[in-house]
């Protein structure tokens, strides 16, 4: 007796197409959606004080190192102490309501609870002070901070992404003079490039485990 409809004879085709398609979709889906590129890039938390890099860096032209003063001598670039902010804001807009939290911190001595944007996992040890001399600019990893009102994660701070540069640093390096220059563009023709590539020759970033994991 006939147990199944004729239509079931399309099963093999359906299987091939269905399973194959589903598999492909899943692969692509995971590949894209589960990647730090998707999960982390774009993270823009609300900060306790609406500090605008766009204003301070982009327009007022503060140098990064004015606030992140450790960047050349410590693994951590350091979030500036309230002190640093007050250095100006004691006189500049001393009573702007947007700075209330800052003034409270200054009075109470309690730190301003900034929200971390650029976070590496505990087992990854990144050192700012060694990347600068090598010619890695701020913008290379942090993006155009000078155009951000709120700090936003620009790059997927993932191992694979780090490795891209560690394997071939040359194209990512810039002259020491341009480290904090946000708008610096790599111009193949330029003369400084020669200098860079020379410098790059001396740069041998680690690719082995303990280069970054301890």
């Amino acid at each position: 007796m006939q147990l199944f409809r004729r239509s079931l004879n399309h099963l093999p085709l359906a299987l091939v197409v269905g399973v194959g398609g589903l598999g492909a979709a899943l692969t692509v889906g995971i590949w894209y959606y589960f990647s730090p590129r998707n999960l982390q890039v774009g993270y823009t938390p609300k900060q306790p004080i609406p500090y605008s890099h766009k204003l301070h860096v982009g327009e007022l032209g503060l140098d990064c190192r004015y606030c992140h003063s450790n960047v050349e001598r410590s693994p951590e670039a350091m979030i500036p102490p309230t002190q640093t902010c007050m250095g100006c804001h004691a006189v500049v807009r001393p009573d702007s309501p947007r700075l209330a939290a800052l003034r409270d911190s200054w009075k109470s001595g309690n730190p301003v609870p900034w929200v971390r944007v650029h976070k590496l996992p505990e087992h990854a040890y990144f050192d700012h002070s060694v990347h600068l001399p090598a010619g890695v600019g701020c913008a290379t990893c942090h993006g155009r901070i000078d155009q951000m009102d709120e700090v936003r994660l620009e790059m997927p701070l993932a191992m694979g992404w780090c490795l891209e540069c560690h394997r071939d640093p040359g194209p990512h390096l810039r002259p020491q003079t341009e480290l904090t220059n946000m708008s610096w563009k790599r111009d193949e023709a330029s003369t400084v490039l020669a200098a860079v590539s020379v410098a790059a020759a001396g740069v041998r970033p680690p690719e082995h485990c303990t280069g970054c994991h301890r």
């Binding site: 147990l3 590949w31 191992m159 694979g160």
Partner: protein, 486 residues
Amino acid sequence: MSAVHPIGGPIAGPIAEIGETRLLPAHLTPALVSEQVTSVTERPARWGWWLYFGISLLFLGVLAVSVSYLFWEGIGVWGNNSPIAWAWDITNFVWWIGIGHAGTLISAILFLFRQRWRTSINRFAEAMTIFAVICALLFPLIHVGRPWHIYYTLPLPNQMGMWPNFKSPLLWDVFAVGTYFTVSLLFWYVGLIPDLATARDRARSLFRKRVYGFAALGWRGSHRHWRHYERAYLILAGLSTPLVLSVHSVVSFDFATSVIPGWHSTIFPPYFVAGAVFSGFAMVMTLMLIARQVFGLKDMMTLQHLELMNKIMLVTGSLVGFAYATEFFVAMYSGNEYERYAFTNRATGPYWWAYWIMLSCNVLSPQLFWFKRWRTSLPVMFVVSILINIGMWFERFVIIVTSLHRDYLPSSWGYFRPTLVDVGCFLGSLGLFFTLFALFIRWVPQIAMFEVKAILPGAQPNQHRHRVERHEPGHHAPPALASREA
């Protein structure tokens, strides 16, 4: 020599093949075969089955509990320590893998060697293989410290840009065991298709018909299909044969490629394979004796089948014994103090008992089979097969634990004691195995009916016609004798 003639016929040709003596009783007809085999799955289960299934489920529960606890707390709930970083976990893994060898061996190698008697037991053995390999796979999965990262062992693209280390024998294992499981499964299912069709056609209820029908993939016994089918079966057999040998060789590399005295040994691959076949046959024997008793399949699993298997066990058992002796000889002859100590320590050290259990179970007990009287006695062979299963477990325990517990630096010597969770995981894996097996014997034709039918007296066209066709192109022997003459 003539490969093909009625099975009951006289022994032809110079070589008296084991398979050529009368295996199956004369009264057996194709219809009877279908009846006897399929009816097992059609009748309501006996209370005996329910009891057996219930107990199996109970142990499966033990497995669930043990493994959950293990995942919750960490490997520390086992007895493993430093220096004995591997203990029962890998012992069980190797033991199960070994057991998983008989199935494919019987299906593939005996098939290529045209041992027709295999037809009665290969389905059974293949099923056992698959379930054993499932149990084996369980242990590598749960023995790692961070099972949720186990996928690191697969070559998957990831944001870390990291790849597995293809130099690691453990990774070879992943591929070997994975391949072995997949191929065995395909082999098994391909073999099942025609019998599922039989089950479909015999079924009464529409539901059963639909289920078996779906599984049978619309098999309609077309000879145009048989033609490719046999070729596929032959090729799968051809592929499985080296595969079987490779799997346990690769497993043995885990040890052979290391630097640990007692592991670092070139004899391991053949020795492990022999041991695997040995234990596999023992397990098949144990199960067959039960099944044949419970389901009255005495016609197809005849005493002669059992005797033939016992002979194989006698051979492989002696091979294993020989391997033990060789190991000792090489260790002593090498003059390497570490090797020497490792082996003396096995026999006389803290784990002497394990060593002697292994030796008596694996080497001594099969020697009974030199005598036809015991080779053909059901109780004896049942006991011996159980003993061998135990002995082979201890073999792996001896190799792994006693080699590890005293290696190079005496300062780091230690001792291993199992915990309840160790025991739970082992018994649990037995539970898993027998649960799967219970379901198998209940729902799947446990004997390759179409193969048996094909070798029944008068199942094939008579000699005269056959001789005519011999020389014609495109001739195919039936699976039982499927090696083309030329």
